[in-house]
């Protein structure tokens, strides 16, 4: 039984990690050739990301969009989650339900919706701000859920205790609620950041004609000629994702966010 367990676990791990390993190997190829096992070992395709100006531009675009949209999403989510939790406002709860909806639907629906909206808004179409807003709305569910979880983890007696010691509403928020909920808000931010960085279809339909994000550039490269740079970018992305989720695990409660009981 034990051996069977190990066998299954090994196969599962190989299944999950294997394809990524193959890509990692391909990214080390010395020549402009996608071979596995790699022929020769070099890191030139990694330096290419930062040296080739078009890849570097796509990287900076993606980072900028991810950073801004994650910030915006947290800013939108915070008052809603707070109003629903602290004051039990029905309106806030309705907003919360509405804010989660875009993430549940197939993304192409929201992508098309944004395309129709922004093309009808004239010269705003193609502007970087549109994809920032679109990603913030699409990914709003993540900070909404993590912040709500963080707030629900606060024992209401803590708030009452701080009130009996003379804290008004504002002070309670600043000294009790914010410090406890902040790691969860950070987790929401990080989730948004990662998913925005990797998002393709909404970026394509909002700014695809004017701005190249990394996923768009990769997709175009897939169609019009291969280069091991794509493989090195895939490895870079996996690394960035792992680092960010490890940060969440370090500074927030990953298992709780993912639904485990304490």
């Amino acid at each position: 039984m034990r051996a069977l367990r190990w066998l299954y676990l090994s196969i599962f791990a190989l299944y999950l990690i294997g394809p990524i390993m193959v890509i990692a190997a391909v990214s080390l190829n010395e020549k402009r050739f996608m071979a596995f096992p790699p022929r020769g070992v070099s890191l030139r395709w990694y330096s290419e990301i930062f040296v080739a100006s078009d890849w570097f531009a796509a990287l900076t675009n993606s980072l900028l969009i991810a950073l801004c949209s994650a910030t915006l999403a947290v800013a939108i989510a915070l008052p809603i989650a707070y109003g629903a939790w602290r004051h039990g406002l029905r309106y806030a709860k309705a907003l919360l339900a509405m804010g989660v909806a875009p993430f549940i639907l197939p993304p192409v629906i929201m992508a098309l919706a944004f395309l129709i909206l922004f093309t009808s808004m004239g010269n705003l179409y193609g502007n970087l701000i549109t994809v920032i807003i679109a990603h913030a709305i699409f990914l709003l569910a993540l900070p909404l859920v993590t912040i709500s979880l963080g707030l629900e983890s606060i024992d209401r007696a803590l708030i009452e205790a701080s009130q009996t010691m003379g804290a008004d509403e504002r002070t309670v928020f600043r000294t009790v609620i914010l410090p406890i909920a902040a790691p969860f808000a950070f987790a929401g931010f990080a989730f948004c950041f990662v998913l925005s960085l990797n998002e393709y279809i909404i970026a394509l339909m909002t700014v695809g004609a004017t701005v190249e994000t990394l996923p768009i550039k990769i997709f175009n490269a897939l169609r019009y000629g291969y280069t091991p740079v794509i493989a090195s970018i895939a490895v870079l992305f996996v690394t960035v994702n792992i680092v960010i989720f490890a940060l969440i695990a370090r500074f927030s409660n990953l298992r709780r966010i993912l639904g485990a009981m304490e």
Binding site: I23, F36, L95, T119, I201, M205, I218, A246, R255
Partner: protein
């Protein structure tokens, strides 16, 4: 803070959600029933011609293919992920965190990159076929994509990390004393798994299946990169209509069909199981 002030803090968020979720959402519905116009491309009316165009065998077949493919993927990915998730919840906190970090990292990985990695895996030069040659199972290496099998394999790979995370809450909250009780009553580990663990977590399995179904309905790149046009799903057709044919009304009509398809599956299954899950 008074009652009014509480609502005032919600104004910016309301405006954002209203302007950038409710309005565009309504625009899709309106555009799907618009009518062609010479001057403005299309004007809002109540014209069902785009839905009539959908109601031909070509598009209905596409919708049925999408639904069937996604249902198959939901089942396969749950089958692969369930035993692992069950074992995962028995690990210590450190091991759990490590696995969860990796699974999240892969889950967040762009569909573009998943499609790319499977393209490499299934290619003639760097792919799995070389392993078959190595074992002497094939004469010489060959390309496994594009094909329906390639689309299926890559989409299952895409869905497995999601399945793990969707099953994780229910399995980690599963009362372990239930299992111990079944073991003391003489059940073997395997028997306990099938007679206790699976029935107890059935609602979570079903709702995870629905979520995977809707999620894979949204896949766009894998069918394009690893499939032939006859393997395209509704999402790909919508993109195609919107980006390459500039036909917003028909793209919207297809989006409404996709919306109705996902919503009705979600609704039907939650109604049937009577459970709700976030």
């Amino acid at each position: 803070m008074g009652g009014l002030a509480r609502y005032l803090t919600l104004v910016p968020s309301s405006v954002m959600i209203g302007a950038f979720f409710a309005v565009p959402f309504a625009l899709i519905l309106l555009t799907s029933v618009s009518t062609p116009d010479d001057a403005q491309d299309y004007i809002y009316a109540f014209d069902l011609q785009h839905f009539e165009r959908f109601a031909t065998w070509f598009y209905i077949e596409r919708a049925l293919f999408s639904a069937g493919l996604c249902a198959l993927i939901a089942v396969l990915s749950l089958l692969i992920a369930f035993p692992f998730t069950y074992m995962l919840t028995g690990f210590g906190p450190r091991a759990q965190n490590t696995w969860l970090i990796y699974i999240l990292a892969q889950l967040s990985l762009s569909e573009v990159l998943i499609a790319f990695s499977w393209q490499i895996l299934l290619s003639r030069t760097a792919g799995l076929a070389n392993i078959l040659v190595w074992f002497g199972l094939a004469e010489k290496s060959f390309s496994m994509a594009p094909s329906a099998g390639a689309v299926l394999a890559a989409l299952v790979y895409l869905a497995v990390p999601f399945s793990v995370l969707l099953l994780f809450p229910a399995l980690s909250r599963l009362d372990k004393s239930l299992i111990e009780a079944a073991r003391t009553l003489g059940g073997s580990p395997l028997r306990t798994f099938f007679t206790v663990v699976i029935p107890v977590t059935r609602p979570a399995i079903i709702s995870s299946g629905v979520t995977i179904f809707v999620l894979t309905l949204g896949a766009i790149i894998v069918p394009q990169v690893l499939g032939r046009p006859q393997h395209w799903t509704l999402s790909v057709l919508i993109t195609d209509q919107a980006i390459f044919n500039f036909n917003m009304p028909f793209a919207s009509a297809l989006a409404v069909v996709l919306l109705v398809l996902s919503a009705s599956v979600i609704f039907a299954v939650t109604k049937l199981t009577g459970g709700n899950k976030s």
